[in-house]
């Protein structure tokens, strides 16, 4: 079946199976910034924005995304660059596998919550697991990014 998406601002048509999930469709079409971590709705590495909201692409049937806007890190180069700079400044990077999913969640957090508390920040990103950093440096990096005025 054919599915039409607006991927990073461009209209795209994909030929997919009815049981195909968006993660598979994106990666099969060379959008490999979207990572396959657990493939079980848990780790958050596969996060993309669907109409601006963070969703797990491993858990969204591609057919359900018909006509919707899908955004990956490639679609937000400037803002993702600011997030990357904050992560670099706080040494919040190690293997980098979870970074793209986390960056999109952090971007959505900034859009959705004004002046979030520490607890609200933690709750917002709880679904993005990192097996390297221990979260403290990432938490500092997120606060740095949210606190920067541009």
């Amino acid at each position: 079946m054919k599915v039409n998406l607006i991927l990073n601002g461009l209209r795209k048509t994909f030929e997919v199976q009815p049981n195909e999930y968006l993660l598979e469709t994106l990666r099969n079409n060379h959008v490999t910034s979207v990572k396959n971590g657990c493939n079980a709705s848990t780790c958050g590495s596969c996060t993309v924005l669907l109409d601006g909201k963070p969703v797990l692409s491993c858990s969204l049937l591609t057919a359900r995304a018909e006509g919707h806007e899908v955004t990956t890190v490639e679609g937000l180069p400037e803002e993702i660059g600011f997030i990357a700079d904050s992560f670099g400044a706080e040494c919040a990077d190690q293997c980098g596998f979870c970074n793209t999913g986390l960056a999109l969640t952090v971007y959505a957090l900034k859009k959705e919550l004004k002046n979030p508390t520490d607890e609200e920040i933690k709750q917002y990103v709880v679904g993005n697991l990192c097996r390297c950093s221990g979260y403290q440096s990432q938490f500092k990096a997120i606060k740095r990014y949210l606190g920067e005025k541009r």
Partner: protein
């Protein structure tokens, strides 16, 4: 999981006629757990385009479309006030944001998942499920039904008579399934107690509720006795997460704590 065809429904009638036409046709909710199903689906019916993603506040109830996501439910200003916010807070503890932006209220009910942190607190409200074609069933009745109704869940109506509620999910980390979950509420001036992940699907502790609702004074002794009745009358079990004995003890402790909290904060 095999899906032979995918159909975007043009109307509820279209969806229902297609659902009836083949025993292996199915309705798509959030679709999150579908991938773990061993079922072969003939036609998967998507009714997400039918405007059932709205929460409408009426004088005495909230009418929630079956396709409302858990995140939209949790964030809704009216739902945040219901039962002093316990339904919203309980929903906000389910997995991460990326999960809750996909999972739907309807899918969480129809799925009947034993680990559900949505169903347990909902059972302590006077919620009513609205199906197409016309059928309305209370959430309590629905959970107990062995043969579920053939139809499409379109709305959930939650009455505003939930004064206060308490919810506890017992788990090791935020993204774990509950070892046990407990909800206690005062709804329509009555105590309601539900326990889920026992590891069976959430159930009301009706004998214990009857006891505390007929107690002269819901004091410390009555609360302890109610918690003991929950432990003794609900069915608990052992799986690879926890033993039956451990779950019973957890239920006893958190039901007592829940009752104390709702009594103290009812206001």
């Amino acid at each position: 999981m095999e899906i032979k065809a995918y159909h975007k429904a043009a109307s509820l009638n279209d969806a229902f006629e297609l659902l009836k036409s083949h025993p292996d046709n199915a309705i798509l909710g959030g679709g999150i757990w579908l991938k773990f199903s061993k079922k072969s689906i003939n036609t998967l019916i998507d009714f997400s385009g039918l405007g059932l993603n709205q929460i409408i506040e009426k004088t005495d109830l909230f009418e929630i479309g079956a396709m409302v996501t858990l995140r939209d439910f949790e964030k809704h200003p009216g739902i945040r006030t219901l039962g002093k916010g316990f339904l919203s807070e309980a929903t906000g503890k389910i997995m991460g944001i990326g999960f809750r932006n996909l999972a739907t209220v309807g899918g969480s009910i129809i799925g009947g998942f034993p680990f559900s942190d949505f169903l347990t607190p909902l059972l302590t409200t006077d919620a009513e499920l609205v199906f197409y074609p016309k059928k309305e069933i209370s959430i309590q009745e629905y959970v107990e039904m062995k043969e579920k109704p053939v139809g499409i869940l379109t709305h959930i109506r939650i009455r505003k008579n939930v004064n206060i509620g308490f919810f506890k999910k017992v788990c090791t980390t935020a993204l774990d399934f509950a070892v046990l979950n407990v909800a206690v509420a005062i709804t329509g001036h009555k105590f309601m107690i539900a326990v889920g992940a026992r590891p069976g699907t959430a159930a009301l502790a009706t004998i214990a509720m009857n006891y505390i609702n007929h107690a002269n004074h819901p004091d410390g002794a009555a609360i302890s006795e109610t918690a003991r009745i929950v432990m003794d009358t609900l069915k608990f079990g052992t799986d690879n997460v926890a033993s039956e004995e451990y779950r019973k003890k957890l239920a006893q402790v958190y039901v007592a704590r829940g009752l104390k909290e709702v009594i103290a904060h009812e206001g």
